[in-house]
Each structure stands twice: as structure tokens, then as C-alpha cells.
């Protein structure tokens, strides 16, 4: 069991990072800390995906002088997927941070509990 974990240590690291990001997202009340936590979870998932595509002792998929045998190159598909993922996670981060600025401008706090309380009061007020 331990040899498998040792062989797949990159995937184990990705799993641990995913949990660290998850805990950061869960535990911190601060909005910006949650954005960082989500980013860590993103990159952990991408690390896991890229390590699946890696094949020992092969080159990166840039064909050199017509040596196109598939045995000499790493699996290019996960790289394509993760490239798309990285750009998407930057876009999501930008939108989240824009929302954080607007929330801060209205409630003057980044602490989620206080924001809930203000929203709660507003709903009470409207009712």
C-alpha cells in the first residue's frame, strides 16, 4: 500500500492540496481568503490531471525533426484540458474579486458573518 502511495506521490500531494484548499475555503470568514482557497483547489485538481498524463522518460509533445513515433512523447490531452482550466479559473477569480469590492463598498466588511447579519437585517427591514 505504501509503495503505491510512494509511487503516486504527486497524486497524493494533489489530494492533500485539494483538502488544504477545501479547508481554507471552509474555515476562513474572510472573502479574499476564500478566493485563495478556491484557487488552491483549482490548481490541485489540475496537478492531479497533469500527473495522470505524464509518462516516465518521454519528451514533452513538441515533435522534433519528424520523429513522430507516439512512444517518444507524453500524453498531450491533459495539457490541453488544463490549459483551458487555468484560464477559466483566472476568469472566475476576477469575477469573485470584483464582487468582493462591491460587497465591501456596500457592507464595509469582508467578514461573511457580518455580511449575513446585514443582509438578515435588511430582509427583516423590508418585511
Amino acid at each position: 500500500m505504501w509503495t503505491i502511495l510512494w509511487n503516486n506521490r504527486i497524486q497524493v500531494a494533489a489530494v492533500i492540496l485539494f483538502a488544504v484548499g477545501f479547508v481554507t475555503l471552509l474555515l476562513h470568514r474572510n472573502l479574499i481568503k476564500k478566493v485563495i482557497g478556491l484557487n488552491i483547489m483549482d490548481t490541485a485538481a489540475y496537478l492531479f490531471l497533469t500527473s495522470i498524463g505524464y509518462i516516465q522518460g518521454r519528451l514533452s509533445p513538441v515533435i522534433t525533426e519528424a520523429d513522430t513515433a507516439a512512444e517518444h512523447y507524453v500524453n498531450p490531452l491533459p495539457a490541453g484540458l488544463v490549459l483551458t482550466g487555468i484560464v477559466v479559473s483566472v476568469s472566475v477569480t476576477a469575477v469573485m474579486l470584483a464582487l468582493t469590492i462591491r460587497i465591501y463598498r456596500r457592507y464595509h466588511t469582508l467578514n461573511l458573518d457580518e455580511i449575513y447579519r446585514y443582509v438578515h437585517d435588511e430582509m427583516e427591514g423590508e418585511k
Partner: protein
């Protein structure tokens, strides 16, 4: 080769935990920037140079800049006569 890989993985996990544990917002952003630089090095080791360039340019560059600006905007809004939050972690 093996030692670098293990060292890198440990550093990445330590940076991840450090962002979670650190109290100050600015510190956790800087650690996050270091984390994504290490991540882009690990892409390079995993034979995916495309991802290394993109993660370095986009992960360490753009998202960290946006976070720093958000923090700066929040600090400035706080000084502009808003509810006085005292210590940095408070906001």
C-alpha cells in the same frame, strides 16, 4: 531529479498550508504567489511546458495582481470614512 520533485511537492504543500494558516491578508497573498510559481515549475517537471508558461504568466501574474489591487481598494475604502475596522485581519 527525484529529490527536486519531492522537495518541490513538499514546498507546494507547505505554501498551501501557510496561506491557510497565515493571519494577515497580504502575507497569504504573497505566499499564494510563491505557491503558483512552484506550481508552474512542477508543470515544467511534468513535461507540460505549455502549462508552465501559462500558469506563470496567468497564475502568478494576473490573479495575484488582482488580489493585491482588491486589498488596496479595500484599504482605501476603509480610510475613506467607513466603519472603522481596526486590525488588518478584521476586514
Amino acid at each position: 531529479m527525484n529529490v527536486i520533485e519531492i522537495g518541490l511537492l513538499l514546498l507546494i504543500i507547505i505554501c498551501g498550508i501557510a496561506t491557510c494558516v497565515s493571519k494577515n491578508l497580504m502575507v497569504s497573498m504573497i505566499i499564494f504567489m510563491i505557491y503558483s510559481v512552484f506550481m508552474s515549475v512542477s508543470w515544467a517537471i511534468l513535461r507540460a511546458p505549455d502549462l508552465a508558461v501559462t500558469e506563470a504568466a496567468v497564475g502568478a501574474g494576473i490573479s495575484s495582481i488582482l488580489m493585491f489591487i482588491t486589498l488596496k481598494r479595500v484599504h482605501r475604502l476603509r480610510e475613506d470614512g467607513s466603519a472603522g475596522e481596526t486590525e488588518d485581519e478584521e476586514i
